[in-house]
Symmetry: C2
């Protein structure tokens, strides 16, 4: 399939978003942003053998997953997905026909949010490198910035943590088929756009998505908000079918493995009841795991376990007594 | 330099565009698009050994050049540059310190247009792969679409054609230093934002930028506008210091080599005088090279030379008599 037929194949026959003035097919896309809204832009690159492995994931799965990582960033900003553009550099062993599966996987999840493909670029290269850039809409007062945590806030997470990391290890062990629940949580995670939608009327929520593990995400929140955070290990939501895992392994998965694409954040004590009841109505699991406290010498994240308070760095390493 | 210091190093200390609400440093950038304007989005990927060669270009030059290719797309849409995001995947041999030179080269040209870096992603990989996505502003009625050519229009180009291709061949021959005029036209081309600015009051201009050579660009215009185009070889502007080149080589450079990042387009006969005088005032070279004609059986591009009319395909191959 030559370049022109390829572009024709991926070019949408219509655009779901009325704000798309010109999509694929000129020197650039043209959009007419909604008046009164801000535009959120986020981007993620994934590389074969580093962020995924074509030996145990299909091209469709890869497309799906890189799109989820991006949509998850839009959710973490409190925005609603609108459009995406795709840059792919692919080795000769991956034909244009093969690449259509990547786009198919992207569309599988993007279409759930009525997102439009509005542009991109495809080149040859030695690696398969996929960059997706996504665009979302947000009402100015409802941006969910990681710098907005306040002392006294409740710290919460959606879903269960560590599932994607556990799924990846099962996938790598070749002992489980692709339909295993945890393997699916790695291959086809679900971004938490639903959480953003049901909590849109809550005044202030500080959010990060769990791409690098909550040790990293909570440290980012603590630093950006200039506060400290403490969480209780006992409260961290772990799926019951992972309880048989060795304790240190469980902690590594839940705190550092990441890629669950759940949302972790904070809100005021007063709003926490509201958040919980809004989520309950829509069957979205949300769990209180700790609180925002005064920063000491510098913004830190602490993990309470067995009556001890350990400092938790970005990588999930626990050290010292505070 | 670790990831955090690296991000701190590339993070702008301030934003030139007041429409940047949140730049680098959260899950996404947030912008407040100008009311009454549309937003143009364009993207280009370049790969080492395919689109550039680190053996004869510095990392700064590479950054500069990928940014020019992108800004040129914004110009070809008639838009004014605003922001950019950068996705880089780099091998271990390219350190974060090295990558700062890529960003420096990008900033060298981006700062000329007061563009802001608002986000991106850096990962490891086997190749050096650089994707840049740019954003520009355009008044809805002043979009310069490739589908807007009309029968009777004048076809024009800015600058000289084939210079960048000639410069690349000199660079590859190692016979000329980097300061040679033509080598510089390859390494540090100038996007034609100036043309867009001075012609902003002209009602309708159809534009494409010369990234793949005018054979390709004019065919794109003919197809998108459902017209045919004929140009005269004698009118194609060639720098006098290339006149010694063999005739077929000269044609290949001027028609197919591309990467001059000049603008080629069409406008009405009535507006052509205006375009010419506006450009003259600002010392922007612009040349009439042909006209838009009725499509025959299908949209085509013709080259008149020696009294013959040859069909010119996308790749610059000339065939048949019409």
């Amino acid at each position: 399939m030559d370049e022109f037929r390829f572009i024709d194949s991926i070019k949408p026959s219509y655009y779901r978003q009325s704000s798309v003035i010109k999509g694929v097919g000129d020197d650039g896309a043209v959009i007419q942003p909604n008046i009164g809204h801000e535009l959120v832009i986020s981007t993620d690159t994934m590389v074969d053998q580093i962020h995924f492995n074509l030996n145990n994931m299909s091209l469709e799965d890869v497309g799906y997953r890189v799109m989820v990582a991006n949509i998850s960033d839009l959710a973490a900003m409190g925005s609603s997905p609108l459009y995406y553009i795709v840059n792919i550099s692919a080795p000769n062993s991956v034909t244009n026909e093969d690449l259509l599966y990547v786009y198919q996987g992207m569309n599988d999840i993007a279409s759930q949010y009525r997102m439009d493909l509005i542009g991109g670029d495809t080149t040859s290269g030695h690696d398969l490198v996929i960059s997706v850039t996504v665009f979302g809409n947000v009402s100015p007062k409802k941006k969910r910035l990681r710098s907005s945590a306040q002392i006294g806030d409740i710290v919460f997470t959606t879903g269960y943590l560590g599932e994607a990391g556990y799924g990846l290890s099962l996938l790598d062990s070749h002992k489980h088929d692709k339909l295993n629940y945890f393997v699916q949580r790695h291959i086809r995670p679900q971004p938490r756009v639903d959480f953003v939608r049901v909590t849109t009327n809550v005044n202030r929520i500080c959010l990060n998505d769990v791409s690098d593990g909550i040790s990293s995400e909570l440290n980012e929140i603590a630093n950006a908000s200039n506060v400290s955070i403490e969480i209780d290990w006992d409260k961290v939501p772990i799926h019951k079918d992972m309880n048989h895992l060795e304790h240190s392994r469980l902690k590594q998965l839940a705190l550092s493995a990441g890629e669950d694409f759940e949302l972790v954040g904070t809100c005021s004590k007063g709003d926490w009841k509201l958040v919980r009841s809004l989520c309950e109505k829509d069957d979205i699991k949300v769990t209180e795991i700790g609180k925002v406290i005064n920063r000491g010498e510098e913004p830190s994240v602490y993990l309470n376990e067995f009556g001890e308070k350990l400092s938790l760095d970005q990588s999930g390493y626990q050290h010292g007594n505070s």
